[in-house]
Symmetry: C2
Subunit: 191 residues, 2 copies
Amino acid sequence: MMSTKRDQIIETTCQLMEMQGYHATGLNQILAESGAPKGSLYYYFPKGKEELAIAAVEHTSRAIQGNINSVLTAVPEPAAAIKTFLTILAEKVAESGYQAGGPITAIALESASTNETLRETCHDAYQSWQDIFAQKLQTGGYSAAHAARLATLLIAAIEGAIILSRSARSPRPLQDVAQEIDLLLKCTHSG
Amino acid sequence: MMSTKRDQIIETTCQLMEMQGYHATGLNQILAESGAPKGSLYYYFPKGKEELAIAAVEHTSRAIQGNINSVLTAVPEPAAAIKTFLTILAEKVAESGYQAGGPITAIALESASTNETLRETCHDAYQSWQDIFAQKLQTGGYSAAHAARLATLLIAAIEGAIILSRSARSPRPLQDVAQEIDLLLKCTHSG
């Protein structure tokens, strides 16, 4: 199936770029690890590595949007939903042996000052995750402006705590963040 | 001066690894950009790139400890001191054209699952910054345990907001985080 080959290439790109970053990941390694023939890579991504990286970030972004949505939909109250999301995340990062988490962080960092198109794609991904949290917070009575600021803090704290947890090889930083964010939401709850 | 040559090599390493990460930075590039002769690199860092990266992270860590200490010492009240630190940080990141900030993030991410010694060095750096904020919070009346959790949230939110600000090319994420952290500290202030 042609669409399966395209997906394989994209998923391999996501994994390699999460582990190694953008610059260290070459097209030959993507070809070798995805098992796709060279022709199909250039057929689906004629512009090469940048086009592939953009597709990979967009693919990851949609997957994470799905994860966030499924947890936030399952738990009605915003503070409880956010606590549940962070608890599950801490478990997932630990279960991966602290290898996974923050799938676009390396690309976002590398592209921030070197590749404008890729930088914008990463920015759009972060914004899309923020918007989901902000909307959930608004259902709890926060104004649109306050919900947006809280959602920014959430995404920032999640990104940072994943780095700290991986670096400490411990779920503790993510758990501490979950506890303090919960305290903040209880303090400021206006509903 | 021999110590100046060593410093030059370390500072070049810090800059290159901040921009490109650990894997993408080679010894030849460090030599070329620092202007140091090959012999002096092997004289000061006989074990090569890993030893150099560890020295670079430790150097960066001490510099940041100095920055945090100088702001937190200048402003007596913890919440005000932390707000000042974040405001200055947002300005610095903007002034760098969104190129600087989060100097060890790329190394921490890359080393998390590939280099145990370097991972521990990054972890120690994060811990040292956290400890300074935690101590300041304790002077405001927080228990040691609560101050440690808040300091973890702070370091996580700062790390993450730098990535978001660089990716958005805007000081806004750092400013939003400053505002929400201030709210949290005012809500939970037990002094």
